[in-house]
Amino acid sequence: MTTLTLLKVERIKLFSTRSPWWCMGTAVFITVGFASLLAGTIRPRDLQDLTPATTQFSYNFGFLIMMVMAILAITTEYRFGTIRATFLAVPNRVDALLAKTAVVALLAGLVGEAAGVGAWALSRAIRPEAPLALDNAQDYRVVIGVGLVYMVATVVAISIGLLIRHSAGAITALLIWVMVVENLLPAIPRVGETIQKWLPFTVGNNFLYAGQQVGENNNATPSDMPFGAWGSLLYFAVVAAVLLALAVGLAKRRDA
């Protein structure tokens, strides 16, 4: 079975139900919506803070929604037994699951681009007088690079879905990881901040915000991160790949 065939199968499966459309639409709408809300309500004296980096602050919404969609793409297959139908049609589980991961990640990447570019473009339309021009590599990276972060994040999400198999459990695990662990860990005295710099989503975020000034007290990313921008993305991607290999390897051995 060729790769193209498997990608087509997963594409048909994904788009023959309506919920992915809803997830994608909501992800773009909320992300762009919050960005334009910020642009619309910012005080004139803060206008110089409305930079390309600032327009992307809301990317977390969209990318959480896309991660939930990625989890559901796997867990609903387990819930309804279609994963078994899939493995009957494509007994090579590794290929089947990688094809699904590729389709979902690609889609998330496109949504990320739409949300990122949309948020920036709409902010610029609302506040033409703000310093929103894309002047350097950093500006381009934060606006156009956001799709890459979406892609890697959905690979993590698919792995969680594959490992846990239940929608509620997998989504809870994801939220605890992203919202609680990665955000609250610095609260632990001494070691907390050191560990945080190695947490995957924090590092992934550093790809977008490394070297960026966001607002007055720059808190977009911890200072002295272990990697630069592209190194951070690579680290994030490696973590995701390891997790995916683990999840797919386990799915291959477990009963479907």
């Binding site: 079975m1 065939t5 048909i12 023959s16 139900t17 309804f80 279609t82 078994r84 090579n92 009963d255």
Partner: protein, 347 residues
């Protein structure tokens, strides 16, 4: 042909399938019979590579399922009619299946027509009745025009119309020369559908035999016979060494005799030699289900596992190791002696 060899599956402490060896012959309908929880579904999942056997293995036409290239062209399976996303239409469901095995997409419309779902193919599958879901499952199994078909309890929960439809469909598939392996917990259903039987109880093989031989062995055989001179008939039969009981007239028919442990051949011959006229001569099946429960139920009790528990099981009212028919039948079948041969010995 499907060959299982020492197939074993353990889930934690449950031994769902225990050292199961059997063969499903090509071009025939083979029933897979066993009470609920006997391990039929587990066995089928292992045949199809969904569950990994704890020990042993199973091959389809000499290959493991997972080694089949484009498997839907070789093997069609309906294990659970609900393995469809409820928000996906039947057509979309079949379409991705077809694409996955490089089957022409027009095949989707063909199988939809074959099972009579063409008119509702665009509707979401979650809204289907069980009968419609079952038809969709069969459509999926037939998509690749496979030579081997597996169905797990296909008539379970269906209304009589649905049952009849499935039954006729099985016969049609068999007439087309396909290998069909179909499970059920109802012997009466298998008697109508299957030529051969693989019978299991508590994960173990109880018998592999032809359906008619199993039924003869399981139900014992008696003959209903009737003629104008009932008293003379009774004399002839008893002097021939057979035992006859009176069957009084009921709504089913006028008074007759029931001859135990005999065939219609035996009784007909006796009557013929005596020059007696017969108005009725018919083989009677005992209660198949009852007999079947006896045969497989025996196995349930033997396998309560912990020997210390055995007396408790006995108190519970089941005939644990009670000498007599069921136990004997089980013993001789386990040693592999054909059921028919055992019957001949017993006579």
């Amino acid at each position: 042909m499907i060959e299982a060899n020492g197939l074993t599956k353990r889930y934690g402490r449950t031994l769902a399938v225990n050292d199961l060896t059997f063969t499903v012959q090509a071009g025939r309908v083979t029933g897979f019979l066993g009470p609920n929880g006997a391990g039929k579904s587990t066995t089928m999942r292992m045949i199809l590579g969904l569950d990994r056997p704890t020990a042993g293995g199973v091959r389809i036409d000499g290959k493991r399922y997972t080694d089949l290239k484009e498997p839907l062209r070789h093997v069609g399976a309906l294990l659970d009619a609900k393995w469809v996303h409820p928000n996906r239409s039947a057509r979309a469901h079949l379409r991705w299946l077809a694409v996955s095995n490089k089957l022409p997409e027009k095949r989707v419309d063909e199988v939809l027509a074959l099972v009579g779902l063409t008119d509702v193919a665009g509707r979401r599958a979650g809204g289907y009745s069980l009968g419609m879901s079952q038809r969709l499952g069969i459509a999926g199994a037939l998509l690749g025009d496979p030579g081997v078909l597996l169905f797990d309890e296909p008539v379970n929960g269906l209304d009589p119309e649905g049952i009849l439809w499935i039954r006729q469909f099985m016969h049609r598939l068999a007439d087309e020369g396909r290998t069909v392996f179909v499970s059920s917990h109802l012997l009466s259903e298998m008697a109508l559908t299957a030529q051969d039987l693989v019978v299991i109880g508590r994960g173990r093989l109880i018998a592999q035999t032809s359906t008619s031989a199993f039924i003869d062995a399981a139900s014992g055989s008696s003959v209903r016979v009737r003629g104008p001179e009932l008293d003379r008939l009774r004399e002839v039969i008893t002097s021939g060494g057979l035992k006859a009981d009176d069957a009084p007239a009921t709504t089913e028919g006028p008074a007759a005799l029931v001859v135990h442990d005999a065939t219609t051949d035996d009784v007909g011959e006796l009557a013929g030699r005596a020059g007696l006229v017969l108005h009725e001569l018919a083989a009677q099946r005992g209660s198949l289900e009852q007999a079947f429960i006896q045969m497989t139920g025996g196995d349930v009790e033997y396998r309560t596992g912990d020997p210390a528990l055995a007396p408790v099981a006995g108190v519970a009212g089941a005939p644990v190791g009670v000498p007599g028919q069921p136990g004997e039948a089980l013993a001789s079948q386990r040693t592999g002696a054909p059921v028919a041969a055992r019957k001949a010995d017993a006579r």
